[in-house]
Amino acid sequence: MTVPGAWYLTLAAFLFVIGAVGLLVRRNVLVMFMCVELMLNAVNLTFVTFARMLDDIGGQVVVFFVLVVAAAEVVVGLGIIVAIFRRRAGATADDISLLKG
């Protein structure tokens, strides 16, 4: 007996919300970035679940593209983090407030 898709969707919703709350609560830039990855994975799980429920390969194609974009995003994001940390060591997200005015 297969698990109904609603269970997968519920699990993905919980995963997404955990990632979102973590992004809002944590101050370490690297951990915030990991929370973004959690949210991306929740969305991927949702897409694969809908691909199974609606019997449509398009959902899995979207997940493929999301994986590529996530890889590019991590490369650029970690480059930015390295650049920030080179300038000032031990900075948290609260310290990077030059644009605050």
């Binding site: 969707l9 699990l11 995963l15 370490n28 990855e37 959690l38 199974r52 974009v69 983090i81």
Partner: protein, 186 residues
């Protein structure tokens, strides 16, 4: 059997996700992230998305988490963060309230069986599972025919990402450091 796989994978996913959010040390958070990514890969296999499960393990657990660990190692930012201090008064309760509201907004259509509100109409790209053709073949057919242009666009995106990473990581020339006062020579 399916339920056992789902329950174990769900427990692994949620444990890892909570570990990412609550662990004080960034290295522990990265290792918890690996746990979550493996759990999601297991659920991909359980839903016959075999190619995506393999890519998930190779790209996410293999490349992205290792990149995270490399950055942690290079920068030496693995000191524990004090989670007790609330930098902005009332930020944490507000964040948790926003999270509960968002969870309710996503969950209510699912629990009342109206998940079509979230997915829209079934599209006509092609069946995912019917017949005996493997999932990899179906995915490749879709990517290289109907989605060929987005697939080519991702190559441009990756080139831009590589160039951007090189530009960001490059040590700035001395003539470009005008007006930088806080910078110290490493």
């Amino acid at each position: 059997m399916d339920w056992a796989v789902f329950i174990v994978a769900a427990a692994v996913i949620l444990t890892g996700a909570l570990g990412v959010v609550t662990s004080r040390n960034p290295v522990h958070a990265a290792l918890s992230l690996v746990l979550t990514l493996f759990g999601v890969a297991v659920l991909f296999v359980a839903q016959q998305a075999h190619f995506l499960a393999v890519v998930q393990v190779i790209v996410y657990a293999g490349a992205i988490v290792v990149l995270f660990l490399f950055v942690i190692m290079l920068l030496g930012v693995d000191q524990a963060e004090d989670l007790e201090v609330d930098p902005l008064v009332g930020q944490r309760p507000a964040a948790i309230g926003v999270g509960i509201a968002g969870l309710a907004a996503i969950l209510l259509p699912i629990l009342f069986g109206k998940w079509q509100w979230l997915s829209g109409q079934p599209s006509v790209v092609g069946p995912a599972h019917s017949g005996t053709e493997p999932n990899v073949n179906r995915l490749a057919t879709a990517i290289f025919t109907r989605y060929l242009l987005p697939f080519e666009a991702t190559s441009v995106l990756l080139v831009i990402a590589v160039v951007g990473a090189v530009v960001l990581a490059r040590r700035p020339l001395s003539s470009e450091r005008l007006g930088e006062t806080v910078r110290e020579e490493p």
